[in-house]
């Protein structure tokens, strides 16, 4: 019966249960129940149209039932989400670090600077940390957006800002530098904001190029205002960074979905 199938599909979709064993089990159980109901209704002499109407009327509001299931399995969903967030952050940050550092090594090579001077430096370690915190902020916002129904970006950003404030307070208490956390939050927020509010890809790329070139120019002039050569190198390096982060916004959702579905398949197979 199509109406019953749609009803069950509706319930499991609204419950936000991840695909896998649990979801299939609920579908199977609800289907068995409706089949029992249909058999009893047929025996009582109801026709198909009447039965369809009764199924929908007696089963209850799908969104209310879905909320019930979502509540029961809320901890499982949260744990899985946190695990996927950590995994996505590590995978993306590793990928991005490799990509950005490769591009910056290319820039260094192009400007005749020894590559080892760029890669084997304190700057590389700081940059890797910045990339990690930026990816964590970006993926964090996209993950937190799933918790809300309306104004998702704004609410997710607010919540992440709160988490950041607590993290900074904790870092200060134990004497750890917090610059990379603040940089990561601003960077992650910037890339998520342009992804959410600017629909045209070319416009997003244009904004990233303009902002990162400007950031490179400003940071270079803060250090050595007179050297044009150093400014050009710095701007190119920042543009490589911008290109890497732009790549992050394209890959984040795919990596997240692939890991989430992969983990579900592993769990379903267990």
């Amino acid at each position: 019966m199509r109406a019953a199938d749609e009803l069950i599909e509706n319930i499991v979709n609204l419950s936000h249960l991840p695909p896998g064993k649990r979801r299939q089990e609920i579908q199977r159980e609800l289907r068995c129940h409706i089949e029992d109901f249909i058999l009893a209704a047929r025996e009582a002499g109801s026709d198909d149209d009447e039965i369809e109407r009764l199924v929908l009327a007696n089963f209850g509001d799908p969104s209310q039932i879905a909320r019930g299931f979502a509540w029961v399995y809320r901890h499982e969903r949260r744990m899985l989400r946190v695990f996927v967030f950590v995994l996505s952050t590590v995978v993306l940050a590793s990928l991005l670090s490799a990509t950005i550092l490769a591009m910056q090594a290319g820039v260094a090579f192009g400007f005749g600077i020894p590559i080892l001077n760029v890669l084997a430096s304190r700057h590389t370690a700081i940059e890797a940390l910045d990339i990690l915190s930026s990816v964590a902020a970006y993926v964090g916002i996209t993950s937190l957006e799933r918790l809300f129904d309306g104004h998702r970006f704004q609410k997710a950003t607010g919540l992440l800002a709160l988490i950041l404030a607590v993290s900074i307070a904790w870092c200060k208490a134990v004497g750890v530098s917090t610059t990379f956390l603040a940089f990561g939050f601003v960077n992650g927020f910037f890339f998520r904001a342009i992804r959410v509010f600017i629909t045209r890809r070319i416009a997003r790329v244009g904004i990233v190029v303009a902002c990162f070139a400007l950031a490179g120019f400003v940071s270079s002039h803060l250090r050595s205002p007179v050297l044009q050569y150093a400014t050009a190198v710095n701007c190119a390096s920042w543009l490589a960074m911008g290109a890497g982060y732009q790549l992050m916004t394209d890959l984040a959702a795919r990596v997240d979905a692939a890991l989430f579905n992969g983990l579900q398949r592993v769990r379903a197979g267990c």
Partner: protein
């Protein structure tokens, strides 16, 4: 008489645990039994039963197993665990205490 949903919400665990204390049952059977024993007073919306059953199972008060019934149909049967039996007894005592107290208030002049 239709019972307010809020009343039912608080008592559904007691109701389910009590029904299952009489023997294992599948979802549809639980509803039929609740309706029969209460002379149709407990006309629960059918779908809302399952989140409640899953919640009890998650708490370890009931357990479930898929089995094929005599008519060849597959069904998920629920039964009480030891923890569920204990909880059912506790809930029953609490319920009797509560209804006694409420009745005393309602009947007082």
């Amino acid at each position: 008489m239709e019972i307010d949903r809020q009343f039912l919400k608080g008592s559904i665990s007691l109701l389910l645990l009590n029904l299952l204390s009489r023997g294992e049952m599948y979802g549809y059977e639980i509803l039929q039994e609740a309706s029969r024993r209460s002379a149709n007073a407990f006309a629960l919306k059918e779908g809302t039963l399952y989140p409640a059953l899953h919640q009890l199972e998650k708490k370890g008060q009931i357990k479930s197993a898929w089995r094929t019934a005599e008519n060849g149909r597959e069904r998920k049967y629920y039964s009480l665990t030891a923890k569920g039996k204990k909880t059912a007894r506790e809930y029953e005592k609490q319920w009797q205490h509560l209804t006694g107290a409420i009745a005393a208030v309602l009947e007082s002049k």
